[in-house]
Amino acid sequence: MSDPAPFHPLTPGTQPEYDTPSYGSTAKRHPQAALIAVPTTLTEANGPRFSPLHFPALADLSVTAGRPALGERIIVEGRVSDEDGRPVANTMVEIWQANAAGRYDHPGDQHDAPLDPNFHGEGRVFTDAEGRYRFVTIKPGAYPWRNHPNAWRPNHIHFSLFGSGFAQRLITQMYFPGDPLLELDPIYHAIADRAARERLISRFDVALTQPEWALGYRFDIVLRGRGATPMENT
Protein backbone atom coordinates (compact mmCIF):
# COMPACT_ATOMS: atom_id res chain seq x y z
CA MET A 1 0.00 0.00 0.00
CA SER A 2 1.36 3.42 -0.85
CA ASP A 3 1.57 6.10 1.82
CA PRO A 4 -1.26 8.62 1.95
CA ALA A 5 -0.34 12.03 0.58
CA PRO A 6 0.57 14.30 3.50
CA PHE A 7 -1.64 17.21 4.47
CA HIS A 8 -0.22 20.63 3.67
CA PRO A 9 1.20 22.28 6.76
CA LEU A 10 -1.03 25.02 8.10
CA THR A 11 -0.08 28.50 6.92
CA PRO A 12 1.42 30.51 9.83
CA GLY A 13 -0.94 33.11 11.25
CA THR A 14 -4.04 31.70 9.61
CA GLN A 15 -5.07 29.65 12.65
CA PRO A 16 -5.49 30.93 16.22
CA GLU A 17 -2.85 30.12 18.83
CA TYR A 18 -3.87 27.97 21.78
CA ASP A 19 -2.33 30.55 24.14
CA THR A 20 -4.27 33.75 23.51
CA PRO A 21 -4.05 35.94 26.63
CA SER A 22 -6.83 38.29 25.52
CA TYR A 23 -9.20 35.32 25.67
CA GLY A 24 -9.04 34.51 29.37
CA SER A 25 -10.31 30.93 29.17
CA THR A 26 -7.21 29.88 27.23
CA ALA A 27 -4.97 30.60 30.26
CA LYS A 28 -5.34 27.23 31.97
CA ARG A 29 -6.38 25.28 28.91
CA HIS A 30 -3.45 25.61 26.51
CA PRO A 31 -0.62 23.06 26.40
CA GLN A 32 2.77 24.39 27.44
CA ALA A 33 4.92 21.59 25.99
CA ALA A 34 5.69 21.56 22.30
CA LEU A 35 3.25 19.60 20.20
CA ILE A 36 4.58 16.52 18.46
CA ALA A 37 4.17 16.35 14.70
CA VAL A 38 2.64 13.15 13.40
CA PRO A 39 3.15 12.34 9.74
CA THR A 40 0.00 11.65 7.77
CA THR A 41 -0.99 8.02 8.21
CA LEU A 42 -4.24 6.18 7.62
CA THR A 43 -5.35 7.46 11.02
CA GLU A 44 -5.28 11.08 9.88
CA ALA A 45 -6.00 10.56 6.19
CA ASN A 46 -9.22 8.66 6.83
CA GLY A 47 -12.16 9.92 8.76
CA PRO A 48 -15.67 9.10 9.81
CA ARG A 49 -18.33 8.41 7.22
CA PHE A 50 -21.79 9.43 8.35
CA SER A 51 -24.68 7.72 6.65
CA PRO A 52 -27.55 10.17 6.11
CA LEU A 53 -29.77 7.25 7.15
CA HIS A 54 -28.29 7.37 10.64
CA PHE A 55 -27.85 11.13 10.76
CA PRO A 56 -30.96 12.75 9.29
CA ALA A 57 -30.71 16.28 7.98
CA LEU A 58 -31.91 19.27 9.98
CA ALA A 59 -31.77 21.92 7.28
CA ASP A 60 -34.44 24.37 8.46
CA LEU A 61 -33.90 25.77 11.95
CA SER A 62 -36.47 28.54 11.44
CA VAL A 63 -39.55 26.38 12.05
CA THR A 64 -40.36 24.06 14.96
CA ALA A 65 -43.38 21.76 14.61
CA GLY A 66 -44.78 24.04 11.94
CA ARG A 67 -44.42 27.19 14.05
CA PRO A 68 -42.01 29.91 12.92
CA ALA A 69 -39.24 31.14 15.19
CA LEU A 70 -39.00 34.84 15.96
CA GLY A 71 -36.35 36.91 14.26
CA GLU A 72 -34.91 37.70 10.88
CA ARG A 73 -35.14 34.63 8.62
CA ILE A 74 -31.92 34.00 6.69
CA ILE A 75 -30.53 31.53 4.17
CA VAL A 76 -26.94 30.42 4.76
CA GLU A 77 -25.37 28.74 1.78
CA GLY A 78 -21.83 27.94 0.78
CA ARG A 79 -19.38 25.58 -0.76
CA VAL A 80 -16.91 23.34 1.04
CA SER A 81 -13.68 22.72 -0.83
CA ASP A 82 -10.14 21.78 0.11
CA GLU A 83 -6.94 23.79 -0.27
CA ASP A 84 -6.40 22.14 -3.63
CA GLY A 85 -9.71 23.51 -4.87
CA ARG A 86 -11.56 20.21 -4.91
CA PRO A 87 -15.12 20.13 -3.64
CA VAL A 88 -15.64 18.16 -0.44
CA ALA A 89 -18.73 16.13 -1.25
CA ASN A 90 -21.08 14.30 1.12
CA THR A 91 -19.48 15.64 4.26
CA MET A 92 -21.45 16.44 7.39
CA VAL A 93 -21.90 20.11 8.29
CA GLU A 94 -23.24 20.79 11.78
CA ILE A 95 -24.29 24.21 13.05
CA TRP A 96 -25.59 25.59 16.33
CA GLN A 97 -26.47 29.09 17.43
CA ALA A 98 -28.28 31.47 19.77
CA ASN A 99 -31.78 32.65 18.97
CA ALA A 100 -32.64 36.10 17.66
CA ALA A 101 -32.47 37.51 21.19
CA GLY A 102 -28.94 36.19 21.76
CA ARG A 103 -29.94 33.28 24.02
CA TYR A 104 -28.97 29.64 23.56
CA ASP A 105 -31.52 26.93 24.27
CA HIS A 106 -28.94 25.49 26.68
CA PRO A 107 -29.13 25.09 30.47
CA GLY A 108 -25.73 26.75 30.87
CA ASP A 109 -26.83 29.98 29.21
CA GLN A 110 -28.15 32.33 31.90
CA HIS A 111 -28.21 35.49 29.76
CA ASP A 112 -31.28 37.55 30.62
CA ALA A 113 -32.83 37.34 27.16
CA PRO A 114 -35.95 35.37 26.23
CA LEU A 115 -35.98 31.82 24.96
CA ASP A 116 -38.11 31.16 21.90
CA PRO A 117 -40.16 27.95 22.15
CA ASN A 118 -40.04 27.71 18.37
CA PHE A 119 -36.27 27.89 18.10
CA HIS A 120 -33.81 25.24 19.27
CA GLY A 121 -30.73 26.14 17.23
CA GLU A 122 -29.27 22.87 15.93
CA GLY A 123 -28.71 22.14 12.22
CA ARG A 124 -27.09 19.35 10.24
CA VAL A 125 -26.79 18.76 6.50
CA PHE A 126 -24.48 16.93 4.10
CA THR A 127 -22.74 18.66 1.22
CA ASP A 128 -23.80 17.68 -2.28
CA ALA A 129 -21.53 16.39 -5.05
CA GLU A 130 -20.20 19.93 -5.64
CA GLY A 131 -19.54 20.51 -1.93
CA ARG A 132 -22.54 22.83 -1.49
CA TYR A 133 -24.61 23.11 1.67
CA ARG A 134 -27.61 25.21 2.63
CA PHE A 135 -29.48 26.06 5.83
CA VAL A 136 -32.51 28.20 6.56
CA THR A 137 -32.33 29.76 10.01
CA ILE A 138 -32.77 32.94 12.04
CA LYS A 139 -30.09 35.58 12.38
CA PRO A 140 -28.60 35.00 15.86
CA GLY A 141 -28.42 37.87 18.33
CA ALA A 142 -25.29 39.14 20.04
CA TYR A 143 -24.81 38.05 23.64
CA PRO A 144 -22.71 39.14 26.60
CA TRP A 145 -19.89 37.10 28.13
CA ARG A 146 -17.56 37.69 31.03
CA ASN A 147 -14.18 37.76 29.32
CA HIS A 148 -13.66 41.47 30.04
CA PRO A 149 -15.89 44.36 31.13
CA ASN A 150 -18.85 44.92 28.80
CA ALA A 151 -17.82 42.03 26.56
CA TRP A 152 -20.25 40.95 23.84
CA ARG A 153 -19.83 38.24 21.25
CA PRO A 154 -20.55 39.35 17.70
CA ASN A 155 -23.46 37.64 15.96
CA HIS A 156 -22.23 34.21 14.95
CA ILE A 157 -23.21 30.71 13.92
CA HIS A 158 -21.01 27.84 15.12
CA PHE A 159 -19.91 25.36 12.42
CA SER A 160 -18.44 21.85 12.67
CA LEU A 161 -17.03 20.00 9.65
CA PHE A 162 -15.31 16.67 9.15
CA GLY A 163 -14.02 16.44 5.58
CA SER A 164 -12.68 13.05 4.52
CA GLY A 165 -9.72 12.82 6.91
CA PHE A 166 -9.60 13.34 10.65
CA ALA A 167 -6.80 15.91 10.25
CA GLN A 168 -9.33 18.09 8.40
CA ARG A 169 -11.56 18.45 11.46
CA LEU A 170 -12.75 22.06 11.64
CA ILE A 171 -14.70 23.86 14.35
CA THR A 172 -15.33 27.47 13.49
CA GLN A 173 -17.76 30.36 13.66
CA MET A 174 -19.44 32.29 10.85
CA TYR A 175 -19.83 36.03 11.37
CA PHE A 176 -21.93 38.70 9.66
CA PRO A 177 -20.73 41.64 7.57
CA GLY A 178 -20.69 45.07 9.18
CA ASP A 179 -20.83 43.84 12.78
CA PRO A 180 -19.19 46.50 15.00
CA LEU A 181 -18.49 43.89 17.69
CA LEU A 182 -15.99 42.05 15.50
CA GLU A 183 -13.23 44.59 16.10
CA LEU A 184 -13.66 44.15 19.87
CA ASP A 185 -13.81 40.35 19.92
CA PRO A 186 -10.71 38.48 21.19
CA ILE A 187 -11.87 35.16 19.75
CA TYR A 188 -12.12 36.61 16.25
CA HIS A 189 -8.83 38.46 16.75
CA ALA A 190 -7.06 35.30 17.92
CA ILE A 191 -6.40 34.79 14.20
CA ALA A 192 -3.38 36.97 13.47
CA ASP A 193 -3.74 37.02 9.69
CA ARG A 194 -6.28 39.63 8.69
CA ALA A 195 -7.33 37.96 5.45
CA ALA A 196 -7.80 34.63 7.21
CA ARG A 197 -9.88 36.37 9.87
CA GLU A 198 -12.07 38.16 7.38
CA ARG A 199 -12.84 34.92 5.59
CA LEU A 200 -14.94 33.99 8.64
CA ILE A 201 -17.30 36.85 7.75
CA SER A 202 -20.14 35.70 5.53
CA ARG A 203 -21.13 37.82 2.52
CA PHE A 204 -24.59 39.22 2.06
CA ASP A 205 -25.77 37.98 -1.35
CA VAL A 206 -28.78 39.57 -2.94
CA ALA A 207 -28.88 36.80 -5.54
CA LEU A 208 -29.31 34.27 -2.72
CA THR A 209 -31.91 36.45 -1.02
CA GLN A 210 -35.48 35.32 -1.64
CA PRO A 211 -37.93 38.18 -2.24
CA GLU A 212 -40.43 38.71 0.57
CA TRP A 213 -39.01 35.75 2.48
CA ALA A 214 -35.36 35.67 3.63
CA LEU A 215 -31.96 37.39 3.32
CA GLY A 216 -29.14 35.32 1.88
CA TYR A 217 -25.62 35.00 3.31
CA ARG A 218 -22.85 33.08 1.61
CA PHE A 219 -20.13 31.34 3.65
CA ASP A 220 -17.56 29.25 1.80
CA ILE A 221 -15.32 26.92 3.78
CA VAL A 222 -11.88 25.54 2.93
CA LEU A 223 -10.61 22.36 4.56
CA ARG A 224 -6.98 21.30 4.59
CA GLY A 225 -5.68 19.74 1.39
CA ARG A 226 -3.01 17.16 0.77
CA GLY A 227 -1.58 17.57 -2.65
CA ALA A 228 -2.51 16.49 -6.11
CA THR A 229 -3.00 12.79 -5.54
CA PRO A 230 -6.15 12.12 -3.57
CA MET A 231 -6.11 8.74 -1.88
CA GLU A 232 -9.00 6.40 -2.41
CA ASN A 233 -11.40 6.37 0.49
CA THR A 234 -11.22 3.09 2.28
Partner: protein
Protein backbone atom coordinates in the same frame (compact mmCIF):
# COMPACT_ATOMS: atom_id res chain seq x y z
CA UNK B 1 -6.98 28.47 -3.28
CA UNK B 2 -6.74 30.24 0.08
CA UNK B 3 -5.43 28.47 3.16
CA UNK B 4 -7.76 26.34 5.23
CA UNK B 5 -10.51 28.18 7.09
CA UNK B 6 -9.52 29.25 10.61
CA UNK B 7 -10.81 27.40 13.64
CA UNK B 8 -12.68 29.10 16.45
CA UNK B 9 -13.55 27.72 19.86
CA UNK B 10 -16.46 25.30 20.17
CA UNK B 11 -17.59 27.43 23.13
CA UNK B 12 -19.63 26.37 26.15
CA UNK B 13 -22.91 25.71 24.31
CA UNK B 14 -21.84 23.00 21.85
CA UNK B 15 -24.19 20.54 23.58
CA UNK B 16 -26.86 21.74 21.15
CA UNK B 17 -25.21 19.28 18.74
CA UNK B 18 -24.65 16.62 21.39
CA UNK B 19 -26.46 13.33 21.03
CA UNK B 20 -25.56 11.06 23.93
CA UNK B 21 -25.86 7.94 21.79
CA UNK B 22 -22.91 9.06 19.66
CA UNK B 23 -20.66 7.94 22.52
CA UNK B 24 -21.65 4.34 21.77
CA UNK B 25 -19.94 3.30 18.54
CA UNK B 26 -21.55 -0.14 18.77
CA UNK B 27 -25.12 1.16 18.64
CA UNK B 28 -25.63 0.19 15.00
CA UNK B 29 -24.87 -3.45 15.78
CA UNK B 30 -21.11 -3.64 15.21
CA UNK B 31 -19.49 -6.98 16.05
CA UNK B 32 -16.13 -7.29 17.70
CA UNK B 33 -14.41 -6.96 21.05
CA UNK B 34 -16.49 -4.34 22.85
CA UNK B 35 -14.58 -2.07 25.22
CA UNK B 36 -15.46 0.84 27.46
CA UNK B 37 -13.16 3.85 27.35
CA UNK B 38 -13.33 6.42 30.12
CA UNK B 39 -11.26 9.37 31.17
CA UNK B 40 -11.17 12.63 33.01
CA UNK B 41 -10.05 15.99 31.61
CA UNK B 42 -8.34 18.55 33.86
CA UNK B 43 -6.89 21.99 33.24
CA UNK B 44 -3.63 23.60 34.36
CA UNK B 45 -4.98 23.99 37.92
CA UNK B 46 -6.14 20.40 38.03
CA UNK B 47 -9.76 21.57 37.85
CA UNK B 48 -12.16 19.44 35.84
CA UNK B 49 -12.92 20.66 32.32
CA UNK B 50 -16.67 20.32 32.58
CA UNK B 51 -17.61 21.66 29.16
CA UNK B 52 -15.27 19.73 26.84
CA UNK B 53 -16.29 17.65 23.86
CA UNK B 54 -14.16 14.54 23.40
CA UNK B 55 -14.12 12.86 20.01
CA UNK B 56 -12.61 9.51 19.11
CA UNK B 57 -11.85 8.28 15.65
CA UNK B 58 -10.38 4.90 14.79
CA UNK B 59 -9.21 3.70 11.41
CA UNK B 60 -9.61 0.12 12.61
CA UNK B 61 -11.84 -1.86 12.48
CA UNK B 62 -12.76 -0.37 9.10
CA UNK B 63 -15.86 1.79 8.97
CA UNK B 64 -18.97 0.11 7.61
CA UNK B 65 -22.72 0.51 7.95
CA UNK B 66 -22.61 -1.02 11.43
CA UNK B 67 -19.52 0.77 12.72
CA UNK B 68 -19.12 4.56 12.36
CA UNK B 69 -15.55 4.63 13.67
CA UNK B 70 -16.34 7.99 15.27
CA UNK B 71 -17.81 8.98 18.60
CA UNK B 72 -18.40 12.17 20.55
CA UNK B 73 -18.98 12.48 24.28
CA UNK B 74 -19.38 15.31 26.72
CA UNK B 75 -17.39 15.77 29.87
CA UNK B 76 -19.58 15.90 32.97
CA UNK B 77 -19.24 18.26 35.94
CA UNK B 78 -16.23 16.25 37.16
CA UNK B 79 -14.60 16.29 33.72
CA UNK B 80 -15.40 12.62 33.07
CA UNK B 81 -16.24 11.11 29.68
CA UNK B 82 -17.21 7.60 28.57
CA UNK B 83 -17.31 5.72 25.25
CA UNK B 84 -18.28 2.23 24.17
CA UNK B 85 -16.50 1.02 21.07
CA UNK B 86 -14.65 -1.89 19.46
CA UNK B 87 -11.04 -2.57 20.38
CA UNK B 88 -8.92 -1.47 17.43
CA UNK B 89 -6.24 -3.54 15.79
CA UNK B 90 -2.96 -2.21 14.39
CA UNK B 91 -3.03 0.36 11.59
CA UNK B 92 -0.55 0.71 8.73
CA UNK B 93 2.00 3.44 9.29
CA UNK B 94 4.20 5.09 6.71
CA UNK B 95 6.50 2.91 4.67
CA UNK B 96 6.59 -0.57 6.12
CA UNK B 97 5.89 0.55 9.67
CA UNK B 98 2.84 -0.52 11.64
CA UNK B 99 1.16 1.55 14.30
CA UNK B 100 0.06 -0.06 17.53
CA UNK B 101 -3.71 -0.19 18.15
CA UNK B 102 -4.90 3.28 19.06
CA UNK B 103 -7.77 5.73 19.06
CA UNK B 104 -7.28 9.20 17.62
CA UNK B 105 -8.57 11.87 19.99
CA UNK B 106 -9.79 15.39 19.35
CA UNK B 107 -10.70 17.66 22.25
CA UNK B 108 -12.77 20.81 21.87
CA UNK B 109 -13.75 23.20 24.65
CA UNK B 110 -14.33 26.78 25.66
CA UNK B 111 -10.87 28.32 25.82
CA UNK B 112 -9.52 25.91 23.21
CA UNK B 113 -9.32 27.85 19.95
CA UNK B 114 -8.57 24.92 17.63
CA UNK B 115 -8.89 21.17 18.12
CA UNK B 116 -6.40 19.54 20.47
CA UNK B 117 -5.35 16.25 18.90
CA UNK B 118 -3.92 13.32 20.80
CA UNK B 119 -4.03 9.54 20.79
CA UNK B 120 -5.01 6.78 23.18
CA UNK B 121 -2.91 3.61 23.15
CA UNK B 122 -3.49 0.48 25.21
CA UNK B 123 -0.93 -0.12 27.97
CA UNK B 124 0.70 -3.53 27.90
CA UNK B 125 0.25 -4.10 24.17
CA UNK B 126 3.64 -5.39 22.93
CA UNK B 127 3.11 -3.54 19.64
CA UNK B 128 3.49 -0.25 21.54
CA UNK B 129 7.25 -0.88 21.62
CA UNK B 130 7.55 -0.51 17.86
CA UNK B 131 4.90 2.18 17.37
CA UNK B 132 6.48 5.13 15.51
CA UNK B 133 4.84 7.83 17.61
CA UNK B 134 5.37 6.19 21.00
CA UNK B 135 8.95 5.37 20.06
CA UNK B 136 9.60 9.00 19.19
CA UNK B 137 8.64 10.13 22.72
CA UNK B 138 11.81 9.53 24.70
CA UNK B 139 10.57 10.75 28.10
CA UNK B 140 8.71 7.80 29.67
CA UNK B 141 6.49 10.13 31.71
CA UNK B 142 5.37 11.94 28.57
CA UNK B 143 4.83 8.66 26.76
CA UNK B 144 2.71 7.42 29.65
CA UNK B 145 0.20 10.22 29.04
CA UNK B 146 -0.95 8.40 25.90
CA UNK B 147 -1.39 4.98 27.53
CA UNK B 148 -4.82 3.94 28.75
CA UNK B 149 -4.86 1.31 31.48
CA UNK B 150 -7.30 -1.54 31.86
CA UNK B 151 -8.99 -0.88 35.18
CA UNK B 152 -11.64 -3.56 34.78
CA UNK B 153 -12.42 -6.27 32.25
CA UNK B 154 -12.61 -4.46 28.91
CA UNK B 155 -12.60 -1.07 30.64
CA UNK B 156 -9.76 1.24 29.62
CA UNK B 157 -9.10 4.56 31.34
CA UNK B 158 -7.01 7.56 30.31
CA UNK B 159 -6.79 10.90 32.08
CA UNK B 160 -6.15 13.99 29.99
CA UNK B 161 -4.31 16.98 31.39
CA UNK B 162 -4.46 20.11 29.24
CA UNK B 163 -1.55 21.89 30.93
CA UNK B 164 1.13 21.63 33.57
CA UNK B 165 2.22 18.58 35.58
CA UNK B 166 1.42 15.43 33.65
CA UNK B 167 0.41 17.43 30.59
CA UNK B 168 -0.90 15.14 27.88
CA UNK B 169 1.16 14.85 24.72
CA UNK B 170 -0.74 16.77 22.06
CA UNK B 171 -0.11 16.36 18.38
CA UNK B 172 0.17 18.37 15.23
CA UNK B 173 -1.53 16.21 12.61
Amino acid sequence: MPAATANQTIGPYWHLIEHAEWADLTRFGANGEVITVTGCVRDGDGAPVADAAIEIWQADPPVDAAFPGFGRARCDAEGRFRFRTLKPGPVAGRGNAWQAPHLALALHARGVLKPLFSRLYFAGDPRNESDPLLSAITDPARRETLLAHEIGAGHWHLDIRLQGAGETVFLTV
